[in-house]
């Protein structure tokens, strides 16, 4: 047992903080603009820089979460929330699908660029009618050269700016991922969808109409749906870490303001109404951190409770993120309601984290199923 961060965690977190130090203060604003070309340019620029720190390599090859990865993620998610989500989807979702499930030639073609941050990836998982137990409706039928794939995907992060997209579907009722470029025949990428939060993340729908896909461009077909479950757990890890980042950012901002802003001749933190609110926020944040790090550690060790603990962390971190960012807005008063401050931005972002990936409702069902099964 050891509750201190190791040298590796501390050094990577320091590198990330340094990257986004005072000299780079314009980045988050640029990255949050959401315009396609600047967002793509900015994402590539920052992935390249992050690649030099070792951040992109963490957990890429083995597809495993770990404490160093969780700590590095929290650091990045706290300074650049939208960049974080875009990078993670590209690296730890698309990249991991290639590194864990790719064929040797696919790995050789794509992994070096992924590791160096030269390639933006996206993954199409969700479908309009897809519920927890529903089968994928994106289907491949045999044809020349190999398959014709048809289906609709919704809410695909990075889709409008991606170089490569992995689309989940079925071949003969078996799971597969189809690797496509945006200019591939039969693919149609929707317009950027306006969203409540994560202003700098570009999200769109995706449609495949009899898109010809050679078998060499498929991951799978697989014997079971394990790769899909894995991809969803990777997505949940990302959203959990994003929650930690939002919490830290909002808490820092609110604490700083409460120490500096005076009312009645004393800093507002000295009033119990504010000080106690901050105490509750810090308590939630530290509890969420420990839970998320323990889940990450457990994933690293392969404990049988890994999946349940991952869901626990996802629910707790994403719901706490909404509570903390909301409280931060309240502490900041009217400033908190103005667009562009970390509390307001975090409050809008937080809702996404509870909806995306495994929603908090479904996560609770899965936790419930898990304890019923084990009990």
């Amino acid at each position: 047992m050891n509750f201190d961060f190791g040298e590796r965690e501390l050094s990577l977190a320091a590198k990330i903080r340094h990257l986004f130090g005072p000299d780079s203060k314009d980045f988050p604003a640029q990255g949050e603009s959401g315009d396609l070309q600047p967002t793509r340019d900015s994402l590539l620029q920052w992935m390249k820089v992050l690649g030099q720190t070792g951040y992109l390599d963490l957990g890429l090859q083995d597809g495993k979460n770990s404490v160093p990865l969780a700590a590095a993620r929290e650091s990045l998610a706290a300074v650049a929330p939208s960049l974080f989500l875009s990078v993670e989807v590209s690296i730890r979702l698309f990249g991991r699908l290639i590194s864990v499930y790719g064929k040797p030639d696919q790995k050789a073609a794509l992994l070096p660029d992924i590791q160096q941050g030269k390639l933006i990836g996206a993954v199409g998982l969700s479908e309009t009618g897809m519920n927890i137990e529903s089968p994928l409706e994106t289907l491949a039928v045999p044809a020349q050269p190999d398959f014709l794939v048809s289906g609709e995907k919704c809410h695909v992060v990075n889709a409008p700016i991606a170089d490569w997209i992995a689309v989940a579907g079925k071949i003969d009722d078996r799971l597969a991922f189809f690797l496509l470029t945006p200019d591939h025949e039969g693919i149609s990428i929707g317009r950027r969808i306006p969203t409540l939060g994560y202003d700098g993340v570009v999200i769109s729908s995706l449609s495949l109409q009899r898109s010809p896909v050679p078998s060499g461009s498929c991951l799978g077909p697989f014997e079971d749906d394990e790769p899909l479950r894995k991809a969803r757990s990777w997505e949940d890890e990302i959203l959990t870490a994003a929650g930690l980042g939002l919490m830290r950012r909002a808490l820092d901002c609110a604490s700083e303001y409460a120490r500096a802003h005076k009312s009645g001749g004393k800093p507002i933190i000295a009033y119990q109404e504010i000080g106690f609110k901050l105490a509750e926020m810090l308590t939630l944040f530290q509890t969420a951190q420990l839970l998320a790090y323990r889940a990450a550690w457990m994933a690293e060790t392969g404990d049988r409770e890994t999946e349940i603990l991952g869901h626990c962390a996802k629910v707790f971190c994403t719901e706490s993120a909404e509570k903390i960012t909301s409280a931060a807005m309240q502490i900041l008063g009217q400033r908190g309601y103005l667009k562009g401050n970390p509390a307001e931005e975090g409050f809008r972002n937080a809702k996404y984290l509870q909806i995306a990936g495994t929603s908090t409702e479904i996560s609770r069902v899965k936790i419930g199923d898990g304890v019923l099964e084990r009990g």
């Binding site: 047992m1 409460a258 106690f276 810090l282 069902v365």
Partner: protein, 383 residues
């Protein structure tokens, strides 16, 4: 950062659970309902080595580290030991015996620790007063030096183990008008003239622990019963806080695990609308919320224990965060467990009712949630 227990710790945890299930849990419900302290089980805790676990072997302990000690507490709760007995154990071992061990003289250690570690003697700690709870430095119990003796006058309130204690660690003012540095700690033994305990207070929960007032009326004790130096009492009280927030809270976290197991069993065997209620999402959500609380709370307790094992002093922030979370965030899952059991959950026969009553102490005892928020907000202010 890593969260593993050693194989020895895991094995010990299983041993504690087996022991408690066999020797203690069958007696818990009855003692809780009758509001009676279970002397037999307490002594068995001593025989098994729990009461003195972290004390050195020559003093009757096992020399365990703090993490292992916390693990034992969690295991007691997980086995189903009621909150009354675990509270009595906590007050005895950590608030009383550990204060003597950590700050007392060799003579005091040799005289008191072996008998406290075995459970032959029961200990308590008298700090809170009718007019001084969270504001401990405003206690009014006086200890006046007269030659080779101290004379104590005053009243203590809500003292766990008060009516049954053989030994009390009592905080009193040796300098009347000085707040923190005017506090000192003393050992007072049962039977000392002028020392008496009030009647057992009837409580909502933790009913098998006895709680009372302690009364000091010209109570004369030998000067060698002073623990440490005069004026060092406040610091000693602060040090007990870490135990209070780790070892005393751990049985509560374990208890929530026990309750979850009970809820799972019930959700599987209780049928409504032709299927087990565990099939309904609303029930799964309640089970999930209990599980999330347990997993979130665990690391908070062990973080303090680990910090203490590293020799880091006090750890105010970690302690306050743990106490606040366990106190305030445990109420909803404890309530969920009762609701999940429906009408049965409202009956004494089902242990979730007892746990619900016991859990209500968590945001009150050992420093209210408001005091934890005050500590955290002060630390944030100075950061």
């Amino acid at each position: 950062m890593e969260f593993s227990f050693t194989p020895e710790q895991r094995m010990f945890r299983e041993q504690v659970i087996r022991f408690a299930r066999k020797e203690i849990v069958p007696r818990s419900a009855d003692h809780d309902l009758r509001g009676e302290f279970d002397f037999q089980s307490f002594r068995k805790l001593g025989d098994f080595g729990i009461l003195g676990l972290h004390f050195p072997e020559p003093l009757g302990g096992s020399g365990a580290d703090v993490v292992t000690t916390v693990l034992a507490g969690e295991a007691l709760g997980e086995a189903g030991v009621d909150g009354g007995l675990t509270l009595a154990y906590g007050a005895h071992t950590f608030l009383c015996a550990d204060t003597i061990f950590s700050h007392g003289t060799d003579l005091q250690r040799e005289r008191f620790i072996p008998k406290l570690a075995s459970g032959e003697w029961i200990g308590c700690m008298g700090l809170t007063e009718p007019g001084a709870g969270s504001d401990v430095a405003s206690i009014t119990t006086r200890a006046e030096r007269r030659g080779d003796r101290y004379v104590l006058n005053g009243n203590k309130m809500f003292i766990t183990n008060g009516p049954i204690a053989d030994v009390a660690v009592v905080y009193a003012k040796t300098e009347k008008d000085v707040k923190h540095s005017g506090m000192s700690a003393f050992i007072v033994e049962k039977g000392t003239p002028g020392f008496s305990a009030g009647k057992n207070l009837i409580k909502m929960g933790v009913r098998s622990s006895h709680t009372s007032e302690l009364i000091f009326e010209d109570c004369e004790i030998p000067a060698e019963n002073l623990i440490g130096q005069e004026g060092a009492g406040f610091f000693m009280a602060l040090q007990t806080v870490e135990w209070d927030r780790s070892a005393l809270l751990a049985p509560f976290v374990g208890g929530m695990t026990y309750v979850l197991k009970k809820c799972v069993d019930y959700a599987k065997q209780r049928y409504q609308f032709g299927r087990p209620i565990g099939d309904f999402q609303a029930i799964k959500h309640k089970l999930a919320d209990i599980k999330i609380f347990i997993e979130a709370a665990k690391s908070l307790c062990y973080r303090i224990a680990w910090c203490k094992d590293q020799g880091r002093p006090l750890n105010h922030l970690e302690a306050a965060v743990a106490k606040l979370f366990l106190g305030d965030w445990s109420l909803a899952p404890a309530n969920d467990a009762v609701v999940l059991f429906g009408g049965y959950g409202y009956c004494h026969e089902y242990e979730v009712e007892r746990f619900f009553r016991d859990s209500r102490l968590a945001p009150i005892g050992g420093g209210t949630s408001e005091i934890q928020k005050r500590i955290i907000s002060k630390l944030l202010q100075w950061t």
